[in-house]
Structures are given as structure tokens and as C-alpha cells.
């Protein structure tokens, strides 16, 4: 199982029945593949649909039904199409139960940087700042460390997405919960030690007891 699948399978367990959830583009969107059966969840795509469904059969795509990455999707029974004001009203207004986003850096305050690397990558924040500021729970799904080194750092050096403490960070090595006191190591992936995680983490990690083994959907 590769890193991304481990992450997606762990995040899937965070999705509660009868909730409204926004999945970011890329790795976060993989979470939908591992939902436990009969979890009645509605996925919101911020471009304007509640009740996002899988990709349609070839030849049955509609130009007016895409996800926030512009890819063709379907809509599930009970879906609603909404405009951008309603879509972001749901997000900012606290009506979105959870969002899952990718990350470039998370720091000891639980702050997330995920929208730009100045001078290298300036895609724009899209809906990320609204999602992190407004969703009830924010889950960061990202590989533990990247080409540039550690991604879980004492203090973000990249521009912040928001000054809101995210709810949970899920990587292929560990589940980390940002708290008032700092980053608490809650779970370790099967076969991974606390030292393994520390070796790839620049931030201070609080280890309260023996972390649980990360369950996977």
C-alpha cells in the first residue's frame, strides 16, 4: 500500500454519517474511495454541487457538471446545485462539517500553509482560505515529509492559509492532533516507531502515552 492510500484510508474513518464534507483536489479526493458502506455522507464541491458522485461512464459526461478541479463527475440522488455565494456561505457560515485538504507545512500552533511557494508556485488560494477559516473540522492529509524536507515544522515559513488551528494531521506515518499545548502524536502507522516519526518531523511532538496503531478503512 503506498503512502497516499494509507493516508486516504485513515482519513476515511474520520467521516461521520449524515455529514457535509468537502474534499480537496488530489490526495484528499481519494478519501471518497474508502468510505465505509452505508455512510450517508454528502460531498460538497465548492464550484457548486452538494452530493458529488463518481466519474460518469465514458461518453456520458456533461459539460455543466464538474468538480472543483474541472473534472467530470456525477451527482447522487438528493444532490443540490448551488451558486458560489451559497457554496461559500455554507463554508464560511459553519455549515460544512469537515474539509480535507492537502498541506505544504503544518506548525506547532496547528497553522497550515498550503497555497503558495512564493516565486515558484503561485496558483492562488482558490477556496482554501475560506475552507480552513470556516469548516467545523479541518483535516490535513499529506505525506509526512517532502522533497524540500520536513513539512511538520516549528513555525510555518511559507505563507499561511489561515490562523486557525487545524483539527487533525494525517500522514502515512502518523496521526497528529494539534492542541493548545502543541502537536500530540496520537497514532503510529503499523511498524512505525516514535523515533521514525521524530526523524522526519522538525516540530516538537508531544507523546503522552503509547500511541495507538493507526487503523485503516
Amino acid at each position: 500500500m503506498d503512502a497516499k492510500e494509507i493516508i486516504a484510508r485513515r482519513v476515511a474513518l474520520e467521516i461521520k454519517p449524515d455529514t457535509l464534507v468537502n474534499l480537496g483536489i488530489g490526495l484528499p479526493s481519494m478519501v471518497a474511495n474508502y468510505l465505509p458502506p452505508h455512510v450517508n455522507v454528502f460531498f460538497q464541491a465548492e464550484n457548486g454541487v452538494i452530493g458529488l458522485g463518481a466519474r460518469p461512464p465514458e461518453g456520458m459526461e456533461d459539460e455543466d457538471l464538474t468538480d472543483a478541479g474541472g473534472g467530470f463527475v456525477t451527482a447522487v440522488p438528493g444532490a443540490a446545485s448551488i451558486d458560489s455565494a451559497m457554496s461559500f456561505g455554507l463554508i464560511r457560515g459553519g455549515h460544512l462539517d469537515m474539509t480535507v485538504l492537502g498541506g505544504l507545512q503544518v506548525d506547532e500552533r496547528g497553522y497550515l500553509a498550503n497555497w503558495t511557494v512564493p516565486g515558484k508556485m503561485v496558483p492562488g488560494m482558490g477556496g482554501a482560505m475560506d475552507l480552513v477559516a470556516g469548516a467545523r473540522r479541518v483535516i490535513v492529509a499529506m505525506v509526512h515529509s517532502g522533497k524540500g524536507g520536513a513539512k511538520i515544522v516549528p513555525k510555518c515559513t511559507l505563507p499561511l492559509t489561515a490562523v486557525r488551528r487545524v483539527s487533525l494531521v494525517v500522514t502515512e506515518l502518523a496521526v497528529i492532533e494539534p492542541t493548545e499545548a502543541g502537536l500530540v502524536l496520537r497514532e503510529l502507522a503499523d511498524g512505525v516507531s516514535v523515533d521514525d516519526v521524530r526523524a522526519q518531523t522538525e516540530a516538537h511532538l508531544i507523546v503522552e502515552a503509547t500511541p495507538a496503531v493507526m487503523p485503516l478503512a
Binding site: 457548486g48 457538471l65 458560489s84 464560511r92 492562488g124
Partner: protein
Amino acid sequence: MKQAIKAAEAAAMIPDGATVLIGGFMGVGSPHRLIDAMVEAGIRGLTVIANDCGRPGFGIGRLLSGGCISRAVMSHIGLNPECQAKMIAGEIEVELVPQGTLVERIRAGGVGLGGVLTATGLGTSVEDGKPVVEVDGKRYLLEKPIRGDFALIGARQADYIGNLEYFLTAHNFNPVMALAAATVIAEPHHIVPVGVISPDAVKTPGALVDHMLERAP
């Protein structure tokens, strides 16, 4: 009853240097025939306010490649490398705005409000230079209203008096933008007799629409 006009006639109304709001999300729900006519007409120096810059050769990306844009106010340009390159080279000026803030600023401009108070962007680079207002102990950024000289709206169908109906994820910024410009030009896929669009399905009342393109060929 409105007269249906040709895309070239609509494009001829838009002078160099105009500020145009353009509906669509990654080209979904954008007025594509009008965009092509604007490129054909060789309009220069536009300020384009839109969710994104489309892709190279698609949607608003065509206006960019056509050299029509000098300034862009958008939430996301990441899927159009040409836009990022022109921004970094200083050929165009880009103001990046969080998506939910962008739509509310346009809504404020369209509905006669003096601005928007939002927590999105607090503590980030988006806050730079903006007043922070405290209301009942909570901090918000003051974001100013946006209006355009023209709003270019993509719709699924229009009736003879210009009532507009949108489909699925092609609503996005269109209904809000139709409120926020001196001149509103709608590009419907279909034009149907008055009464075909149910009053409950009208998202943009015909009273807002100044001009309507003839039906798609």
C-alpha cells in the same frame, strides 16, 4: 422582449480598458462564444474579474492568450501556467482573492452594500493593507465591493425577456455577477418562449439582463 444579438455585436460594445466580470468556473458556465468574439475583435487592456483563468486555449485562458487582459482579479490561476508565467514576468497584474471573498465582494457591489466583513484571510497576506473591524468581540477583514462595466454571463437558457436559468455546476459566479455591472450581456445555450422557464427556476430575472446573444449555432 429582447433582441438577440450576434457575439461580434456584443464584443463591439466592450471598449479597450473595460472592467469585465466573467462567469464560469474552469470554463464551466463561461460565455465561450462571447470570449471568442472578444479575442477576434482584438480588445486590449481588460481588467477581468473571474473565479479563475481557465486553461490555456479554454475559457478565459483564450482571452489571456489573445492578449486582451492586462489585469486579473481571480481566486485561482493554477491550472493556467501561461497566466502564472505572465504574472511572474510582469506582463499582467494579478490580484489573488479568496474565492468566497471574491464572490461576496461582487455580491456586495451588486446589491448596494459598502463592503463585506469576513474572517477569511485574517492573519495571512490577504490581510495586508486592509482595515480589521471588530464586531461583538470577533475580528473581520473589511473587503471592498466590486463592480464591473460589463458582466458576461453564461446561462443554460434564456426566455424572450431575458430570464435566465442555469444548470448544475454552471451556476457558479453567474447569478451574482449579473447584479454587479453597468451592462449585463447573457449568452444562453437555448432561447425559449416566455413561460417555459418556471418562475421558481429563474435565477437571474430578465430585468437585470441588458443584452442577449442569439442561440448557439
